[in-house]
């Protein structure tokens, strides 16, 4: 059980694809001007990433090592084609708001990165957990930044009008860059503070143990 907890925590926080590894930046910067499209992108990536991880993990003994990258790309491109058809048919709003970025999921570094770094070495269940965790990490990051950009840039949330005050710059790529950059800085800083606090606590505990042993 501990193994799955570690995979989940890595995907969500310590190796968060958006903030810690800075992967999949194109859709992030292109779509966070609207919380709806950012979250839609995240959910699509969760589904595609989980399926591609499971498929690649199932096929990992069959795929020859020399041609593995083209094989992964075929699998991912097929999944993206399916996703595109399904979205166009059932969620046309989302299909329109994602625009060109839907096809570009094929070259999203997160999916190929997870296939190469994780799925081809682990069993399907672990690969599925890893896919969901990383996808969730990506979705949460995109949604949070999307909410910030849309609220301040357009004065609305998920398309619902909230206030008249708005900083138009934040709804453009320039604002996306600045919000993304500052979010990474904040995330890295918070994690750093937590880890330092944990280290200090562990050191203190070790010292106390040593002291009590010395007294005995």
């Amino acid at each position: 059980m501990n193994k799955y907890k570690k995979i989940t925590l890595d995907g969500l926080i310590f190796q968060n694809p958006t903030f810690m590894l800075v992967l999949g930046t194109c859709p992030t910067l292109g779509l966070i001007s609207s919380a709806f499209s950012a979250m839609g992108m995240g959910l699509t990536v969760i589904v595609i990433l989980t399926l591609s991880n499971v498929l690649i993990s199932l096929l990992r003994k069959l795929i020859p090592n020399e041609v593995r990258i083209p094989c992964y790309i075929v699998i991912i491109a097929t999944l993206v084609t399916f996703a595109r058809m399904l979205l166009e048919k059932f969620v046309p709003d989302l299909y329109d708001s994602l625009g060109g970025f839907l096809a570009l999921i094929v070259v999203n570094c997160i999916i190929l990165g997870r296939a190469e770094a994780f799925a081809n070495k682990h069993n399907p269940l672990e690969a599925a957990v890893d896919g969901i965790a990383n996808g969730l990490g990506f979705t949460c990051a995109l949604t949070v930044m999307g909410v910030v950009c849309e609220f301040l840039g357009k004065g609305s949330l998920f398309g619902y009008h909230i206030m008249d005050f708005k900083i138009g710059m934040l709804a453009t790529p320039a604002g996306a860059f600045i919000v993304y950059g500052l979010s990474i800085a904040l995330f890295v800083y918070v994690i750093d503070v937590f880890q330092r606090a944990r280290r200090v606590k562990a050191n203190k505990l070790a010292r106390e143990n040593l002291m009590t042993q010395g007294v005995e």
Partner: protein, 202 residues
């Protein structure tokens, strides 16, 4: 003539791939630490974008549409781009070893560059807003021109960014901001500067 100028201006400035469309951000952030590598990457991307569009556009319009297999475009395009990049690498290696030494290492990275797949997907869509109504042959020529000009715009922003990052190295940044965050804040200012070009009405 007016259309050609309009296409070039749109691709290089008003709809710049990095600052307006946010395609191809990975190489933009990853390879822009030094001006020399930024130029190499920019030239390689420009070349691949133009050649990829020149190959994929006729395949889509004259093979895939008549056969009604448009839905396979993603799979087709990514394979065409991957094999093109491989082929280009071999050709450059044979013809000009010095050029290969300068940009050979960037070529394999381009396969998974969103800017290349992005431009091939973009030009097969509805481009009437940029081209006006033109014949099929003219649309093909303009599409290749658009891809080439978009590559030039990409190179331009890469060079600006690398210059700024080289300067930035001389200053101390707070620990949390070092690396990617400060690069993104810098990129944000470049985007703001490029917003000026929105007022070019062509």
């Amino acid at each position: 003539m007016a259309t050609i100028i309009a296409v070039i201006l749109a691709a290089v400035l008003t709809e710049n791939f990095i600052t307006v469309k946010t395609y191809g951000i990975c190489p933009f952030l990853g390879v822009s630490k030094k001006t020399s590598s930024a130029v190499g990457m920019g030239v390689a991307v420009t070349l691949v974008m133009a050649i990829a569009t020149a190959v994929t556009y006729p395949i889509y319009k004259f093979v895939m549409v008549p056969l009604k297999i448009e839905f396979l475009e993603i799979i087709f395009f990514i394979f065409i781009i991957a094999s093109l990049v491989q082929m280009l690498e071999k050709i450059i290696q044979k013809l000009s070893p010095s050029l290969y030494g300068a940009m050979g290492i960037y070529l394999p990275l381009i396969t998974t560059n969103c800017a290349v797949l992005g431009v091939t997907e973009l030009v097969i869509g509805n481009m009437d807003a940029v081209y006006g109504s033109v014949s099929a042959a003219a649309a093909y020529g303009l599409s290749v021109l658009y891809a080439f000009a978009a590559g030039i715009g990409f190179t331009l922003v890469m060079i600006i960014m690398s210059g700024m990052r080289e300067k930035l190295n001389c200053y101390k940044t707070p620990k949390a901001l070092a690396g990617f965050p400060i690069a993104m804040v810098t990129a944000s200012f470049i985007c703001m500067a490029f917003m000026v070009f929105k007022s070019i009405a062509v």
